[in-house]
């Protein structure tokens, strides 16, 4: 029983990677840019975005499904990741445009004139033209990429340290994370936050310097990048939860006091997993928003993080593929319903319009899953593998029969 390789211990990782690879290949083959064009560019983007949502769902599963911390703030980290990459995209592209348009002038523009023009262009909507201090690194892709992981990571580290150190748990912790998200969203809504207030950052789908590359191609590139990130995230998560570390996490979820009495510093573990998942969320956001094209503070609103919890619950928390399935399934079905493509149901006295009623349906499904199928969609795989927990109704069988499985004892 010494350690086998990660893949030998978790055959599901290889299956998942194979499915993901086939999916990516399939979409590429049917895309407008590289294949038959059966899948429209906008749908390729939807699928690419869905992969990013699957990645953040993995993070949520690590922190909630495995460690029992119901964070209602991970979409804040996702949004921050998006803002960080968005700053570079917007700055660099605006600069390209300005430099091109100024090139025709008789006197070549000075560097400070260019900067002023970029500032004017970007911040005109909020009545300013000065670059706020937080844009200091926006000229550098490398620095902004570092910020994609550093800002969510640091925020999670500080917030987590304060919260876990004072042993805030359960509902109170959820409320606290929710408050953090709300505070961040409200701050970003202000025009003088330096991130264009409720206008957010836009035009993110255009990659600077690659104007001649059509969106149909860019969309597939991002699909590949998102798939790669999801694949890596999955392998990483599987590695984290499969060994002794995962054992400690599940111990914390089930009985955190007991873990403490074994000598493990529960707070350090929580902080570790909270921070690492915030970083994963940031990366997912940085891949998502260039595909969405726009990011604004509404994306960070508390409701987004609640959706995240709903996806993971419906997919089946405490198993990685459950989180992925939940995010993919619910978000795709959700965009189908809210996209107005689902026919309304006329009841004579009232017409059910799914754009309005979808949320009700989702909420209802959530309640149903929580009550009757706590293992979620992922639980269906147990039926297939026959890997069921014994239905012992919480009772010990007693000293003698206790070592028997229930069905053995029944015989």
């Amino acid at each position: 029983m010494t350690d086998r390789s990660l893949f030998a211990k978790n055959p599901s990782v290889l299956i998942f990677l194979a499915c993901l690879g086939m999916f990516t290949l399939g979409v590429t083959v049917f895309s407008e840019a590289f294949g038959s064009g059966l899948i429209s560019t906008s749908f390729v983007k939807t699928l690419g975005k869905t992969l990013c949502l699957c990645l953040i769902a993995l993070a949520m599963d690590l922190v909630w499904g495995y460690t029992g911390i119901l964070s209602l703030g991970h979409f804040a980290f996702f949004g921050i990741g998006g803002y960080m990459i968005g700053m570079w995209l917007m700055y660099e592209r605006t600069r390209d445009i300005i430099v091109t348009s100024m090139a025709g002038q008789e006197i070549p523009p000075t560097e400070s004139e260019i900067t002023a023009a970029i500032g004017n262009q970007i911040f005109g909507v909020v009545g300013s033209s000065e670059f706020p201090a937080i844009w200091a690194f926006s000229h550098s892709l490398t620095l902004q990429l570092i910020l994609v992981v550093a800002v969510p990571g640091l925020l999670a580290l500080v917030f987590g340290w304060l919260a876990f150190r004072s042993r805030v748990t359960g509902v109170y912790l959820s409320i606290l994370t929710q408050a953090m998200t709300l505070a961040l969203a409200l701050y970003l809504f202000q025009n003088d936050s330096g991130l264009r207030g409720n206008n957010g950052l836009s035009g993110l789908q255009n990659l600077p310097g690659l104007d001649e590359v059509p969106q149909s191609v860019v969309s597939v590139w991002f699909l590949w990048a998102s798939a790669a990130a999801l694949g890596l995230g999955y392998v990483f998560s599987a590695w984290v939860v499969s060994g002794k570390f995962g054992s400690v996490l599940r111990g914390i979820r089930d009985d955190e006091a007991r873990v403490r009495f074994l000598g493990y510093s529960v707070e350090a573990y929580k902080l570790f997993i909270f921070t690492i998942t915030a970083v994963i969320a940031g990366i997912a956001g940085a891949l998502y928003y260039p595909q969405a094209g726009i990011i604004n503070p509404a994306e960070i609103a508390p409701i987004a993080s609640i959706y995240l919890a709903v996806w993971v619950a419906i997919g089946g928390r405490g198993r990685l593929y459950g989180a992925v399935i939940g995010a993919a399934f619910v978000s795709l079905v959700s965009s189908w319903f809210t996209g107005g493509q689902v026919p309304s149901i006329p009841l004579g006295f009232y017409t059910i319009d799914w754009v309005d009623w979808w949320l009700v349906l989702l909420g209802f499904s959530f309640v149903m899953v929580t009550l009757f199928a706590p293992r979620g969609i992922g639980g269906l795989f147990d039926l297939w593998t026959g890997h069921m927990a014994p239905a012992r109704h919480g009772q010990d069988l007693g000293p003698d029969a206790g070592s028997l499985q229930e069905q053995e004892a029944d015989q």
Partner: protein
Amino acid sequence: MSTLLEVSGVSVSFDGFKAINNLSFQIGKAEMRAIIGPNGAGKTTFMDIVTGKTRPDEGRVIWGDKSVSLLKMSEAQIARAGVGRKFQRPTVFEDQTVFDNLLLALKKDRGPLPVLFYRRSAEDVDKVHALAEEIGLTDQLDRKSGELSHGQKQWLEIGMLLAQEPQLLLVDEPAAGMTPEEREHTTAILVEAAKTRAVVVVEHDMEFVRRLNCKVTVLHEGSVLAEGSLDHVTSNKDVIDVYLGR
């Protein structure tokens, strides 16, 4: 014999009710001690104080050669310092296998990074198997511990306690739910452990206590009522009145 743990003048009250009242207690490095007393005497609360779960209102808890105070340490730090505990109600990680439970308890670096990069060595696996052998759970290693019987969970928790290799074992009612043979085996394990380390056993079963063959402390209303050999304390009039005579 040098002292391993010294508790002196400790009091704690819950909502005005004094659960522990000016309690003093000492135990040496390789000593077995039984604590008996009626329900609500404060036996479990005493263990809560030593392990850092409950903070006393006053008093001192001094540990080890360096005479450090346990009162300033967190539960995890106290456990790492060498205090192991078995709970009154068996608490094991029900969702995990017996093997994983024991591996989790095995004395190893407890920091997040070493644990993240931990790889099972053949040596550790052997240790787990040896422990499983000792607690009679070899055949159950791959079974989820939630599927075990009450007695087996007790065993598993004793195994986890031994896996930690603590200097002080606090054992709260270990024999509850066990058959007579199992009790005998528990006694043997505890007596063996007490040869090299300190063991404090809380137990209601007098037969069990007698077989431990050690000094006995009687608690009543949060303080020590009597202390000495079992025969000595059981012939004490106060003890008969509050505990045995009922």
